[in-house]
Symmetry: C2
Subunit: 479 residues, 2 copies
């Protein structure tokens, strides 16, 4: 196929020309989503949903291995219940959808469609926790939530999104802190090993923390355009919610104590992260672990005797070890190549009369375009090795790319120049004052992504005010 | 443990004394649900949700094996979209929840919280279906839906419930009819083989069919109290929705045609069916296929040397083939026996010093209370055989019970007497007139459950009006 034909088939905006348009092109052309007549809500199509199912499978396994149980809470929260924790209601009330009528009747109390379920879990915990024997409670919920956003983008910011929300209750603050960090680490390991996306782990500043939390921890990733994406958060509530909802237990000495709580969540925005970290000008690139189809078999000259039979035989051999498809439609191989490149299928397996003669097939990696001639004798072994290599290389490359776009700023001029010219993560010292955090945002558009666990004292004075520095902060413009 | 102690631990209402209270006791004491401050909405607790996850796993596997793909549609439906199909909106509008405000702003158009998603799927299908090559579309969605019910009962009728809704589009009416029946058969096979609940397959009368459907098919089951439960429905829409939403495709002759559609659904009410078909005075009885814990190991005299070690060894051997738990808490074995009987765990495995000496353990079946002495040499084999036998016997017994409570009525007096004295399925002939269907309901409270596929001409005249009969109908009072 000529270069012209390729472009014709693909027809997406080049990534470095218009990143936002490139992103929109991919979510549509890779059949991840469709728009609906409901403002800000997306339809997640089969291919997009299959990616979400794989994300769920990997996360759910990790949650269960760490002792968590799934539950299901109501979709609605009565207004009075939402208002029980002061900071929480202030944070969420401006962006909730209100149900005011059921059938023909006006409700006596408005119900909000859950933007998050802390209040429901707290009410339930107050009912079921009585003694130290009832602790810890390690619950998780898979559901959809609604936040009335003004501007929306598929996966990154939608009025409704799918997520999981973990909610736990513990006897002591130490235990709730351990849980908060444990789940942050589960998230980080999942991002790196499954999504092949490197993360920076750290704590949010007070300005950026969750409404009602004592401390919020986050994992932050860098997208190809140099903007940051918060890929997961884990909150330690201390006993704040417990006091508001009166969640108490009798300890071993028969004393009444408040529980200590956490919550943590990951959402369908992870699919946006996959696109923006790994995608290229030909479309999506999926890490094998979350690819609905890991290998697509494409017969070449399929009308010739024996080709289709061989392709089917190859497919059925691979089926035992990987998610495999076979496209034996009457479309041209070149069209098929472009189609599965657009969809980010990790490996394409070509097999034609000449290959069969040589007892081989051709495997093409989506990320590197490397063509690998594989003997059919070692088919299973080779496929497994190449999938593993690709998974590993995607993480390695994303890490290189992230590091390449991580800068250090020692003055506000440097800071502003990086933001304007070469967006990325910016390491800069901070005095700890909200006024400097606000000033930096106003001047540069960058926010404090996190106070990273790995502190590196690049200087002794705050990049903004010059006073003694307290922390190294990772700053960046963010989605 | 004495009989008195047993009752003390369990404390549930006997089933034949007050069936409704017995049901409520089980959903609470088996830790399936908790109530919340949201009227008519339930909290599905870990044990209840684990049953739902197993139901999902078995159904989802069947959907995928029959070529269906999962998608996710928005939670909200704009009022104008809901109104596009006349019968549909008339059926659902009276029972939907309306969102009128987002944040502080009043919406220009109300959104309803989906009671079902036909309209959203239709809008999407109109967007993505163009040619015969795009057909069939075989989609399914797992989500929660809301129907503003006046009176509610956990699992059976709740304001919000979890379900799956299949939505498919086909080129011809014949294909949509095949799909409708195929999915009804998938449901029936699942109910019988997985839930161990026998079903009657049939067609709904026009009065009882789904709002907007051309024909509704149903599987009906009989609960222990003689009331019927609709356990799943499958609808053939013909081209009704396609005409309302203008879903057309060009066929091979380049002619523009309307698609033909189906939808089918099963809900968390299946958990209610499990309780009411298999439960007894000691609590829940779960078929092994959907039991979160299939075998609970209970050490006897666990303080004695070697007992706990042996119990753990037994557990780890069973882990490879079944979902197994071990209760080594310091509670009395008698308490544990009652607890896992309440929760319906299929097999209890007792092991104490004497058993260890004899190289055996004791297995007690939840349904029959049969005590089976099993040599530890054949542990794996025995467990598998007993689980299979229990699964099979539960279905056989439920079928016997259902057949025992299926009556034939040849006159309205007989019909009314059966309804009043020995509720169950009532077979009776029907002329096909709505007036007789209404009259029967008014006189007896029974509704037409279905026109069963297996027709049996028990008489030639309508049980109500005496005119020539068209169909045998299965009648019953229903949940």
């Amino acid at each position: 196929m000529s270069e012209k034909d390729r472009k014709l088939v693909e027809a997406i905006t080049p990534r470095d020309e218009d990143f936002a348009q490139w992103y929109t092109d991919i979510v549509k052309k890779a059949d991840l989503i469709d728009y609906s007549s409901v403002r800000g809500c997306m339809i997640i199509r089969p291919y997009g949903y299959a990616i979400w199912e794989l994300i769920q499978k990997h996360l759910d396994k990790r949650f269960k291995e760490t002792g968590h149980e799934n539950v299901y809470m109501p979709l609605f929260i009565p207004e009075s219940l939402l208002q029980k924790e002061k900071d929480h209601v202030e944070g969420f009330a401006p962006e909730v959808a209100w149900v005011t009528h059921g059938g023909d009747e006006e409700l006596t109390e408005r119900l909000c469609v859950r933007p998050t379920s802390e209040t429901l879990f707290c009410e339930h915990y107050a009912n079921i926790i009585h003694s130290y024997r009832d602790l810890p409670k390690l619950y998780n919920q898979w559901c959809s939530v609604v936040r009335w956003e003004k501007t929306t983008r598929p996966f990154l910011r939608t009025l409704e999104f799918l997520w999981q929300e973990g909610h736990t209750a513990h006897a002591t603050e130490e235990e709730s802190m351990d849980e908060t960090i444990k789940m942050l680490n589960v998230y980080a390991e999942f991002c790196e090993n499954i999504l092949a996306i490197p993360v920076v782990k750290g704590r949010k500043t007070d300005k950026e923390k969750f409404a009602g939390a004592k401390a919020t921890f986050t994992i932050e990733s860098l997208m190809h355009d140099g903007k940051a994406l918060q890929t997961g958060t884990s909150h330690n509530f201390g006993d704040g919610f417990a006091r508001a909802f009166n969640i108490r237990y009798t300890d071993k000495n028969n004393e009444l104590k408040y529980v200590h709580q956490t919550s943590w969540g990951m959402t369908t925005r992870l699919i946006g992260a996959l696109i923006m970290v790994h995608g290229d000008d030909d479309g999506l690139v999926l890490p094998p672990e979350v690819a609905p189809v890991q290998v697509m078999v494409i017969p070449v000259q399929q009308h010739k005797e024996g080709v289709l039979e061989k392709a089917r035989e190859v497919k059925s051999r691979i089926e035992k070890l990987a998610r495999v498809g076979l496209d034996d439609s009457d479309k041209m191989p070149g069209w098929k190549f472009s189609e599965y490149e657009m969809k980010g299928v990790p490996l394409r397996l070509e097999i034609g009369p000449k290959d069969i003669q040589n007892n081989q097939c051709v495997i093409v990696r989506r990320d590197t375009r490397e063509k690998i001639f594989v003997s059919l004798d070692n088919l299973e072994d080779s496929i497994q090795k190449i999938l593993k290599a690709m998974q590993r290389d995607l993480l390695a490359n994303a890490t290189l790319e992230r590091d390449r776009k991580t800068y250090t700023a020692y003055s506000m001029d440097e800071f502003a120049e990086i933001c304007a010219k070469t967006p990325g993560f910016i390491k800069a010292m901070w005095c700890g004052e909200r006024s400097c955090e606000d000033a930096i945002k106003e001047k540069t558009g960058a926010t404090a992504r996190c106070i990273p666990f790995e502190q590196d004292r690049v200087s002794d004075s705050c990049v903004c005010c010059g006073k003694p520095a307290e922390h190294l902060v990772i700053w960046g413009k963010a989605y």
